[in-house]
Structure formats: structure tokens, C-alpha cells
């Protein structure tokens, strides 16, 4: 790779972080804890979810360590069950669901639509507090001995057959769910009602479209999870129930209610990441996203179709063959918009002018890994192959490919991309490119063998396994070590950059988008004057004219 880059930093000897910005506006703990500023709330979220990510990651490390050997020798089976349950609960509800929306989304959406803040700043703050309360409940659960139901809380195991802290976990997720609902609600209202003059729907950045689609899912799907958890908690405490056949209830009813949310949940998790990729691919190829309308509509299509496929998690559970048929067909339909997006991003590169800074590297990683993850989803969506592959490591590999290889890479891409805007400083480019590559390699070593393990039949959630599976497990754990390094590096150098990073200036990437037309870090009110949007999204010609004007005026 040549050293071509689009990074355009101001002269470091004279550049300064602007004195007045959202970080310096007010000081003191209370100004942070009682803030209404979406950017401060985004920062609070970023710190919180990073904290939970590392807890979840440590639990993942424990899982992989145990799986080095075929026997249950590192920890007791019960402990292992608690470890993978907490790993799932924390990663899904406390990291993936809020990751891009609550951090990058909160930070950017008002700026991208040209508003001063989200529509309901106090609700935004409440959303963060609910997240923190839920997080404390989750930590309490772990400290008090953990829960071992699996993140899917299958009844009647979770209602009547376990003695662990199911109720506190259920309530923690309930509270976290409302955090998510309020974030989504805020986004929808802001995008509908607070776009600046001239900002029509089709001039919005695709990041906004993706978060809008994810917000619809958050708002409509999460309440169903909430009520399901309430019923589980009640059933557990009162010992009667709608979900236990011994009491006349139906365990399959729980499955339907649970997956009705949890399938859209995976789209809640991935759509904002796709939004990030749109922004990054466009900026680093200096081109408008190919097929803007198709990408925008495919986000909404994923959201809509996503509500109708939940029973593909239940193909072998005794639903009727005909129901399986319908859900399988719908699953095939929901796979198509994702394919459309991948191709549109690929073709954005066509006749572009491409550079390979860190966000772009993560974006490339996303495109490859999400393609694999998505295609393997189709393996599972076809009922016949699902019979053999479901409940094995194939599923584990599939969802880690889309969530970690996809979503987490997109999150890191977004963090690096908007880091200069957020903090006013650039991260160190070389080490971050190294971290991206290390992550990519580590990821593939960790999770690709798991596809093979699954095809061979190794079940998931097993602390012990037949010895012939050991080689692949060792391989996977080795990869996990590399992956861990890849995730630790950003913490280190991003923290370092807060003090020693180069001053970024307004628009180090020479990107389009309203957020890049403001200072870095932005003012609390984002814009001194509400902008008027008079050009299309990703209008690089407009950007060029801006730069020429600036050069002209300075001279």
C-alpha cells in the first residue's frame, strides 16, 4: 500500500483545540451527570459500554480457556454455564444493542440532521441512567453468584428448574430495554421533526436512515421482550405459569414471545453498523454511496421484514411444518436487502479515489466478514440444513461473524472515523491500522474453525466435548488470544491520543456531512446558526467549492 491519504490536518505548530466546546462548556461532575447535551450523554455511554464490553470479553476469554481441553477441568460445569450466560447477556444487552446508536448515534444524529440536540434531551439522559441502573443490576447478579439460563432464558428451565439469579437478570434486562426504547423514540422524533430547512429525507446521510430503521425496531420490538420478562419473573416468584406445561402453560409460547423481540434485536444491532459503513466507504473513496436510494430503502426493508421471521429460531422445536415453510421463505426475503447493501458499497469503490486509513480497513473487514456471516445465515434459514446445523457451533460461528466480524468492526470503524470530531484529536494511524489487521486475523482464527465444529456436530453451550473436537477448539482459542490483543490496542492508543494526539481540525477526512462543517470538538449547541441544507448528501463537488471558498476568503 502506498502512503496515499486524505488526512488533512491543520498546521500542528499553530493549531489548538477550540477553547469553547462541549467538553469545556461546563465543569464539574454534576454538569456531566445532569447534562442534557447529547454529546456528553454519548460520551457517558461510550465509557459505560466500553466497561461492559471488557467484562463480556473477559467472560469470553474464560469460555475459550475452558474449551482448550475436552474435559470440564478449568471450572465446574455450573460455573461454565454461568460464564456463557453472562457473556451473552452482557454482550447482547449491554454492549451490542446500545453500541452504535447510544454512542455514535447520540453524538451525531442531531448534527447530521442539522439540529441543536435530540428532541427530548431529558429522556436521553434518563435513557443513560436506566442503562447504568440495569448495568448495576447485572453486576449485582454476577457478584451474587450469577445466572445460568443461557441468554435466551428458555422456559421451563429458567422458570422452574434453576436456583440462580434469574429474577434480577430478567429485571436488569427489562430496565435496559427501556433505555433502548427511549433512545429509539428520541431518534425517530428527532429525525421526523427536527431536520433543518432543506434537509429532505433523501438528503439525509445513510447513517441516519440506518439508525431510523433500527429505532423503529427498538421502539416496537423491545416492549414485547419487556412483558415476556415480566411474565417469567412473575412465574418464577409465584410458581404458576403460562410457560410451564406442568401447570397447563406452553413453553413454546415463551419461545414465540421471546424471539419476536430477539430476532428484530439482531437487526437493531447490525443496522446502525451498516450506517457507519456507508459513511466510511463514501468518505474514503470520495464518492457518493452507489445507489443511495436502494441502500436507504433496504435499511427500512430489513426493519420491516425483520419482524416477520422470528420463528426461524424455532424450526426444530415442534412448530408445524407449514409454519416453518412460511418463516423460511420470509427469512430468504430478509437476506436480500443485506446483499444489496454489500454490493452497493462495493460499487461505491468503482471509479472512486480510495485510501486505506483505519476506518476503511475496518469497513473492508466488515464487508468480507459480514458476507460470510450473512451467507451462513442462509444455511440456517433453509429448514433442511437448519436441522443439522442448529444448536451447534455453526450457529455460534454465524452470529459471531455477523455481530463481531460485522457489528463490532463497524463500531470500531465508526469510533476511529469520528474520534477526531469527538475529541478534537487524531488517533495514531500506524498502530491503529496494525490493530485493525490483528483484529481481522484473530477473528478469523477464532471463529472460522467453529463453522467446521458445528458442521461436525459439536453442540453449543457444552463445557466438555468429545476429544476429536479438540484440535479445532485449540485453534479457536489461539485465535481468541490474538483477537484480545486486537481489542486491547485501541483502548491504549485512543486513551493516549486524548493527550498526545495531533490536533484534528474541523474536517481531517475532508468528508461531507454537516457534522464535519463544525469545529472539533463541537460546540454544545452544535451550530451557532441552524444550517440550511442546499445540497445532496455526499456531495463532494459541493465540498470542493466550500474549500475553494475558504481558501479564497483566508487569502
Amino acid at each position: 500500500m502506498s502512503a496515499a491519504t486524505i488526512i488533512n490536518l491543520p498546521d500542528q505548530s499553530t493549531a489548538r483545540i477550540p477553547k469553547m466546546n462541549f467538553l469545556t462548556k461546563e465543569n464539574g461532575l454534576l454538569s456531566w451527570l445532569l447534562t442534557g447535551d447529547h454529546k456528553r450523554i454519548a460520551t457517558l455511554y461510550l465509557i459505560s459500554i466500553t466497561f461492559f464490553f471488557f467484562i463480556g470479553g473477559a467472560l469470553a476469554g474464560l469460555i475459550r480457556l475452558e474449551l482448550l481441553t475436552p474435559q470440564t477441568d478449568l471450572m465446574a460445569a455450573d460455573t461454565y454455564n454461568k460464564v456463557f450466560t453472562m457473556h451473552g447477556v452482557i454482550m447482547v444487552f449491554f454492549f451490542l444493542v446500545p453500541s452504535v446508536p447510544a454512542t455514535i448515534g447520540n453524538f451525531l444524529i442531531p448534527m447530521m440532521v442539522g439540529a441543536r440536540d435530540l428532541a427530548l434531551p431529558k429522556v436521553n439522559l434518563l435513557s443513560w441512567y436506566l442503562y447504568v441502573i440495569a448495568g448495576c443490576m447485572a453486576i449485582y447478579t454476577m457478584a451474587a453468584g450469577g445466572v445460568d439460563t443461557g441468554w435466551t432464558f428458555t422456559t421451563p428451565l429458567s422458570t422452574h428448574y434453576l436456583n440462580t439469579h434469574v429474577i434480577s437478570t430478567g429485571l436488569a434486562i427489562f430496565v435496559a430495554g427501556f433505555s433502548s426504547i427511549f433512545t429509539g423514540l428520541n431518534f425517530i422524533v428527532t429525525i421526523h421533526k427536527m431536520r433543518c430547512p432543506g434537509m429532505t429525507w433523501f438528503r439525509l446521510p445513510l447513517f441516519v436512515w440506518s439508525n431510523y430503521a433500527a429505532s423503529i425496531l427498538m421502539v416496537l420490538g423491545t416492549p414485547v421482550l419487556a412483558i415476556t420478562l415480566v411474565l417469567v419473573v412473575l412465574e418464577r416468584s409465584l410458581h404458576i405459569g403460562v410457560f410451564d406445561p406442568a401447570y397447563g402453560g406452553d413453553p413454546i409460547l415463551f419461545q414465540h414471545l421471546f424471539w419476536f423481540y430477539s430476532h428484530p434485536a439482531v437487526y437493531i444491532m447490525i443496522l446502525p453498523g451498516m450506517g457507519v459503513i456507508s459513511e466510511v466507504v463514501s468518505t474514503f473513496s470520495r464518492k457518493r454511496v452507489f445507489g443511495y436510494t436502494a441502500v436507504a430503502f433496504s435499511s427500512v426493508a430489513i426493519a420491516v421484514f425483520g419482524f416477520f421471521v422470528w420463528a426461524h429460531h424455532m424450526f426444530i422445536m415442534g412448530i408445524s411444518n407449514y409454519a416453518a415453510l412460511v418463516f423460511s421463505l420470509l427469512t430468504m426475503l430478509v437476506a436480500v436487502p443485506s446483499a444489496i447493501k454489500i454490493f452497493n458499497w462495493a460499487f461505491t469503490l468503482y471509479k472512486g479515489s480510495i485510501t486505506f486509513e483505519t476506518p476503511m480497513l475496518y469497513a473492508f473487514g466488515f464487508m468480507g466478514l459480514f458476507t460470510i456471516g450473512g451467507m451462513t445465515g442462509v444455511f440456517l434459514g433453509a429448514t433442511g440444513t437448519d436441522i443439522h446445523l442448529t444448536e451447534t457451533y455453526f450457529i455460534v460461528a454465524h452470529f459471531h461473524f455477523v455481530m463481531v466480524g460485522g457489528m463490532l468492526m463497524a463500531f470500531l470503524s465508526g469510533i476511529h472515523f469520528w474520534w477526531p470530531k469527538w475529541t478534537g484529536r487524531m488517533y495514531p494511524e500506524k498502530i491503529s491500522q496494525l490493530a485493525a489487521i490483528v483484529t481481522f486475523i484473530g477473528f478469523n482464527f477464532t471463529f472460522f474453525p467453529q463453522f467446521i465444529l458445528g458442521t461436525l456436530g459439536m453442540p453449543r453451550r457444552y463445557a466438555a466435548y468429545p476429544p476429536e473436537f479438540q484440535a479445532l477448539n485449540v485453534f479457536s482459542t489461539a485465535g481468541a488470544t490474538i483477537l484480545g490483543v486486537g481489542y486491547l490496542l485501541p483502548i491504549l492508543y485512543l486513551t493516549w491520543s486524548l493527550k498526545y494526539g495531533e490536533i484534528a481540525g474541523n474536517n481531517p477526512w475532508q468528508a461531507t456531512g454537516l457534522e464535519w462543517q463544525t469545529q472539533s470538538p463541537p460546540l454544545t449547541e452544535n451550530f451557532p446558526v441552524i444550517p440550511i441544507m442546499d445540497h445532496e448528501a455526499y456531495d463532494y463537488d459541493w465540498l470542493e467549492k466550500q474549500e475553494q471558498k475558504e481558501v479564497a476568503s483566508v487569502g
Binding site: 477550540p18 442531531p110 439540529a115 423514540l185 432543506g198 401447570y247 474541523n506 462543517q517 469545529q519 440550511i532
Partner: protein, 251 residues
């Protein structure tokens, strides 16, 4: 180079310092504020529909499977109290709507009157509910806590209900045990509804204090109107609950 590029397209006259005191700084106009918060409340009510929807789904499935048990169990509910509660809520929705009108008309006295009436009616609803709940406790119809199937295995042992429904036959033991399921759903649904009522009444109390201070009669009706939406929603949930729970065998 901080803000000049943004205004290149033509600056909007900064009305920043000319807005009414109740307009929040991130909104460009009072209309935008009203529009946005109103939309937000409708959206929130949509989430509440999804929330109650899960409960209704469970209820409908169980009722379909265990119809005889559900019918007999529902006969334990007092239609009189239920109808009274329905009436109370409908009237309270009317008084709430009148409250919104008063706010729009900037009539502080009327606003306080109507909010107080709504508050009292809300409390009345909860009072009637607590009478019903305590009756359930006395008759050992609280699932998981003091449950007994006796009234359904042998309806004659419960004279006041048996008089009203002499056609109810004793249920077989396995069907009789499903009446506990009915009451579980009854308490879950009405309990969730009552929780929303309690939240609503608390907010009403807060609003009464603010209304007396004149906060809602300055033309800023957003708060009252959006709360009105919430109150009407809680009323509508009850309108669905009442026939589903109380009126099962009456078409």
C-alpha cells in the same frame, strides 16, 4: 474556521433570544417543540400497545385452550364493580379532555377543577380495584400466594357467585387448576394497568401543583395535552380489559 462555512448557504435569522420562556433551547420554534413532543407521546403510546400486546396474546391463547375454566373463573369477578370502574374511567377521560380545553382557553380555574376531578376519579378507580383485590384475597383466589380451587371444584361452596350463575357446573380437577391461570393473567393485566394508573395519578398530582402556579395557562399546552393522550390511552386499555376479563360468557 468554525462557523462561517455553515452559513454559506444563507443564514436563518437567529430567533434564539426571542422565544417564549417555555420553549426549550434546542427547538427552533414553539410549533416545532409542540409537534415533536406530541409525536413522541404518540410513539411512546405505540410502545405501550406492544407492551400490553404481549400480555393480551398470552391471555387470548390460554382462554382459547381452557375456555370452561376461564368462563367460570370470570364469574368470580363482580360485574357491578367492573362497570363502575369503566364508567369512572370514561368520565375521567372526559374531565381530562375538558382540562386540555381549559388549558387551551387559558382558564386556570377550570383547568385546576378538571385536573382535580380527573385525579379524584383516578383514585376512585384504584379504590374500587383495591376492593376487588381484597375480595380475591379473602376468597383465596390469589395465585401462588393463597390459591384454592375449591370454588371451582364445588361451585355450591361459594353461595354468592353460585346464586348468580347456577348453571356453572363443578369443574374436573385438571380444568379447575386452570382457573389459577386465569387469575394469574387477571392480576398481571389489571395490575400492569393499575401501575400505569398510579403513574398517571402521580403525574396529575405534580401537574396540579404546576397548574396552580400558572404554568399551563400561558399558551403552553404541550404538557397537559400530551398527558391527556397518556390518560386516554390508559382508559382505552381498560376498555379492552373489561370485556376480555369480565364479560367472557356474555356476548
Amino acid at each position: 474556521m468554525s462557523d462561517s462555512s455553515v452559513t454559506a448557504g444563507g443564514a436563518v435569522a437567529d430567533a434564539h433570544h426571542e422565544h417564549p420562556p417555555y420553549q426549550r433551547h434546542h427547538f427552533e420554534s414553539v410549533d416545532q417543540q409542540f409537534d415533536a413532543t406530541n409525536f413522541a407521546m404518540w410513539l411512546f403510546l405505540l410502545t405501550e400497545i406492544m407492551f400490553f400486546g404481549g400480555l393480551f396474546t398470552a391471555y387470548l391463547i390460554m382462554r382459547n385452550w381452557y375456555y370452561p375454566a376461564f368462563v367460570e373463573a370470570s364469574h368470580q369477578l363482580n360485574i357491578g364493580w367492573g362497570t363502575a370502574n369503566t364508567g369512572v374511567l370514561i368520565v375521567s377521560s372526559f374531565t381530562m379532555a375538558m382540562g386540555v380545553w381549559s388549558a387551551e382557553m387559558r382558564k386556570k380555574g377550570l383547568l385546576i377543577l378538571f385536573l382535580s376531578l380527573t385525579f379524584i376519579l383516578g383514585l376512585a378507580f384504584l379504590g374500587i380495584k383495591s376492593i376487588e383485590y381484597s375480595e380475591k384475597w379473602e376468597k383465596h383466589h390469589v395465585p401462588g400466594l393463597n390459591w384454592s380451587d375449591a370454588s371451582f371444584l364445588n361451585p355450591a361452596s361459594d353461595p354468592e357467585v353460585h346464586k348468580l350463575y347456577p348453571q356453572d357446573k363443578p369443574l374436573a380437577p385438571d380444568m379447575a387448576s386452570k382457573t389459577e391461570m386465569y387469575f394469574f393473567l387477571y392480576f398481571a393485566m389489571t395490575g400492569m394497568h393499575a401501575l400505569h394508573m398510579i403513574i398517571g395519578i402521580s403525574i396529575l398530582g405534580f401537574m396540579l401543583v404546576r397548574a396552580r402556579a400558572g404554568a399551563y395557562t400561558t399558551g403552553h399546552v404541550t404538557y397537559v395535552e400530551n398527558f391527556g393522550l397518556y390518560w386516554h390511552f390508559v382508559d382505552i386499555v381498560w376498555i379492552f380489559l373489561f370485556p376480555l376479563l369480565y364479560l367472557i360468557s356474555r356476548y
